[in-house]
């Protein structure tokens, strides 16, 4: 039994890390998306948009801390390699996160004449964060190499992620708002979906082309068969999402959450596709999760904690979303 630890432990941790990245991308995705959409709204609407994410954004970002923490603790040999290679985009992303996090507070607490400026900072911070995350993904897919091709691909991914976030942000707002703002949000969702689709298509085409290994993983014989459901479900979800957005436009009061839930599903599917392409590598083409794993003793200690604590975290996160369910309201401290 003990002999098998080294085999399944790294896999479990890769799965946990993957899960927290996915949760992060969905949750911070919608609140970054709200930030990216902010310049398209009127000042009063901006307050409501920000109010809709107020109780959540901090916890959403904590999933990033968990993901990076798991990379750090479970795959110490890989994290240095990845993060030193992504030094610049990672730093810019952090600056973006700082800007938007503080702008959130300062825009309502600083003297009113600066409010518009901080709203602007909120937008810029969200945009930088999304762009950098996309670029990091692109360079990662490209095996952490830098040349004009990989940079072009990174730019493509930066655009896609940004548009994708604005889509999920749009559907979030369509769920959380009413009136004119909701109508606008529905339109943003639609455009976001079109952009995201183009993006997913381009990235799906480019990835197998630049990496023969990934190409083989998807297009060799029996695999093609087992994997066929993923693209098929993705197409179905896209169509359903498109219809749901159209439906919501006609009946804005009925099931306003539908497009948001479908967007989450879409993110999940795209993510599973990526994860499949990379497994078992943690540094693409260079280091597998089994090469990079930390000592089993230490991993076990963390795993025990995770087994008990993660469900609790999910539970009280659900509680928070339940407390602040329904349409967004102006936030008050008392």
């Amino acid at each position: 039994m003990l002999q098998q630890f080294p085999q399944w432990l790294p896999f479990t941790f890769a799965a946990l890390m993957g899960l927290s990245i996915l949760i992060y991308v969905i949750l911070d995705g919608f609140d970054l998306g709200v930030g990216i959409l902010i310049p398209f709204a009127q000042p009063e609407e901006q307050d409501i948009m920000i109010a809709s994410i107020g109780p959540f954004w901090d916890a959403n970002e904590t999933w990033l801390v968990l993901a990076i923490g798991l990379l750090l603790v479970a795959f110490p040999a890989a994290h240095g390699e990845i993060l030193t290679a992504l030094y610049l985009p990672a730093t810019l992303m952090l600056i973006g996160l700082i800007l938007r996090g503080v702008a959130f507070e300062f825009r309502v607490k600083a003297p009113p004449q600066y409010k518009a400026g901080w709203t602007w900072a909120f937008f810029v911070g969200s945009l930088i964060t999304a762009l950098c995350q996309g670029a990091m993904l692109g360079i990662y897919i490209m095996g952490l190499h830098f040349n004009s091709w990989t940079l072009a691909f990174a730019a493509l991914c930066a655009g896609c992620i940004t548009v994708g976030y604005s889509m999920i942000g749009g559907t979030w707002l369509a769920m959380k708002t009413i009136g004119d703002l909701q109508i606008k949000a529905i339109e943003w969702s639609r455009r976001g979906l079109l952009g995201a689709l183009t993006g997913i298509a381009l990235v799906s085409l480019a990835t197998p082309l630049v990496s023969p290994r990934i190409f083989d993983k998807w297009f060799s014989f029996p695999e093609l068969f087992y994997l066929a459901p993923i693209p098929l479900i993705t197409v179905t979800v896209c169509i359903t999402l498109w219809l749901a957005i159209n439906r919501l436009e006609r009946e804005p009061r009925i099931k306003p959450g539908q497009p948001f839930y479908l967007s989450m599903l879409l993110f999940g599917l795209a993510y599973i596709g990526l994860a499949y392409s990379f497994y078992p590598y943690v540094v693409p083409e260079k280091m597998t999760i089994y090469d990079a794993a930390a000592a089993p003793e230490s991993l076990k200690i963390i795993l025990w904690g995770t087994i008990f604590v993660l469900p609790t975290i999910l539970g009280y996160t659900a509680l928070a979303y339940y407390v602040f369910r329904g349409k967004a309201q102006k936030l008050t401290y008392y």
Binding site: G54, P55, D58, A59, E61, T62, L64, V65, L66, I68, G69, L70, L72, V73, A74, P76, H79, G80, E81, I82, L83, T84, Y87, L88, A90, T91, L94, I95, L97, I98, G101, V102, E105, F106, K109, A110, P111, M175, P256, A294, A295, E297, S298, I301, I302, G305, V309, L310, I313, Y316, T317, A320, V323, F324, K327, Q329, L331, T332, Y333, Y334
Partner: protein, 460 residues
């Protein structure tokens, strides 16, 4: 020249210095808010609620800054110090993981309920959320200080092929300096928050703010400070004695003592000169360092020259920064003692409105004194650990990442610019909020404010 090593150090120091400013406030402010709330629940006295309402705003602002700067911290290990995790990841990893799992999520999730849930959840749940946030911040201080203390006084591990493996988690968590460092830091946090509240309340009183809340806030804060500061000074002394046992070179640098000898004076002023290996312009109190550290005038205190190898390699930390930071911390601590006891006495004899203006101005000046002492304290501790990253296990140079110096320099400048702007804005906004509170904004009549007209439509 500036190489990636020194730049990474400066960048790490800048990031963590900026980060610690905010947690050091929120750790204690969370408990103080809970106290305000419980007092209000028990007495129904509006003045407690007034304080709660004002300080919860400052708390929200401070928390946001703490979170975003903390996220930066967690990337630093990977971007600049890959050798750290590669070597001691088996110990540091689980500690960091437990911090995220047991502390960060708790505080981040319940923060939303605490800040915005007042009208949405039953009062007990709101009080519970306030408690969980305070508890979460304290837990994160616990875990990170366990790790930091382990880096100073490692225990419960073995080294195989240059990699550290954990052998005894109890020994790792309760490593020799942890109890001292944790108590000293939590007390530092209490003092920082107390002087913040005292300073801002004094500012409100000075501006002619008639709210009773500000007076109660001042009184509460001064009471907290007056109780904590003697405990802190005592703890600091214990902390120093413990360090003498485990990291004598650090204490030698704090005292500016070059030779191992008896009857060492306590230096009040000196300019340590590492080239000449002696002090210039020494002013000291005879025998006092020996008395403090060894409890007798002729006690023998270790000197820096013991930590120079025969080939001339220096194995003690840079002297001047440790020496001076230590004096800044202790000096600030003594000022805190003076102000909290002096003001406490005046309030006791004459009431808050009887406190003379110059004293109030002094308190306004002391608003951020906690920051100064805390930063100085961390500089003593951390610079005093050099040249080691983990004492006796990993030297700092071995951990640095392979990043182009120009790149590190540019990100460093970017961080510094952002931090400078944010720190100044933060201070201005805190005082702006205080000014606004004085202009009658602190008791919004919910029926009147447009903000209160919510547009609630049930979901689905």
């Amino acid at each position: 020249m500036l190489d990636a090593f020194i730049l990474s150090r400066i960048q790490f120091a800048a990031n963590i210095s900026f980060h610690i400013l905010f947690p050091t406030i929120t750790i204690a402010l969370g408990w103080i808010l809970l106290f305000f709330k419980l007092r209000f629940n028990a007495t129904g006295d509006e003045r407690w609620m007034e304080n709660y309402r004002f300080w919860v705003k400052v708390f929200a602002l401070t928390f946001a800054l703490g979170v975003v700067s903390g996220i930066t911290m967690s990337f630093q290990f990977g971007t600049n110090w890959p050798g750290f995790m590669e070597t001691v990841g088996n110990v540091a990893g689980p500690l960091l993981a437990y911090e995220v799992l047991t502390a960060f999520f708790l505080e981040a999730v319940f923060l939303g309920v605490m800040l915005f849930g007042f009208n949405k959840v039953p009062n007990w749940l709101h009080t519970l959320a306030t408690f969980l946030v305070a508890f979460g911040t304290t837990m994160s201080a616990f875990w990170i200080l366990v790790l930091n203390s382990w880096m100073h006084t490692p225990a419960g591990y073995e080294v195989r092929d240059g990699i550290v493996y954990a052998t005894d988690w109890f020994a790792i968590i309760f490593n020799p300096s942890m109890p001292y460092r944790l108590s000293h830091m939590l007390l530092a946090s209490g003092l920082t928050a107390a002087f913040l509240i005292a300073g801002v309340s004094a500012f409100r009183v000075l501006r002619g703010d008639t709210a009773h809340g500000a007076r109660l806030g001042l009184k509460t804060a001064i009471s907290i400070a007056a109780v904590l500061i003697p405990v802190q000074i005592f703890m600091g002394d214990m902390h120093g004695l413990n360090t003498l046992e485990h990291q004598p070179a650090k204490v030698a640098a704090m005292e500016g003592n070059w030779d191992t000898q008896s009857n060492v004076p306590l230096l009040l002023f000196a300019i340590p000169d590492e080239e000449a290996r002696e002090n210039r312009f020494e002013v000291g109190i005879p025998n006092l360092a020996s008395i403090i550290l060894k409890h007798k005038p002729d006690g023998v205190v270790p000197g820096l020259n013991d930590f120079v190898k025969s080939d001339g390699t220096v194995e003690h930390p840079p002297v001047a920064p440790v020496f001076w930071s230590f004096r800044v911390m202790v000096g600030t601590g003594l000022l805190m003692l003076l102000f909290s006891w002096g003001t406490g006495y005046l309030i006791w004899r004459r009431g808050v409105d009887g406190v003379p203006k110059p004293v109030l101005y002094g308190l306004v000046g002391m608003t951020f004194s906690g920051w100064i002492a805390t930063l100085a304290g961390w500089y003593v501790t951390e610079i005093g650990r050099q040249p080691w990253l983990v004492t006796g296990v990993l030297d700092t140079k071995a951990a640095v990442g392979d990043v182009a110096p120009a790149l590190v320099l540019s990100t460093l400048l970017l961080y510094l610019a952002v931090y400078a702007v944010l720190t100044v804005t933060y201070i201005l906004v805190v005082f702006y909020l205080a000014k606004k509170a004085g202009e009658g904004d602190q008791l919004p009549d919910r029926a009147r404010t447009p903000e209160a007209i919510t547009q609630f439509v049930p979901a689905e």
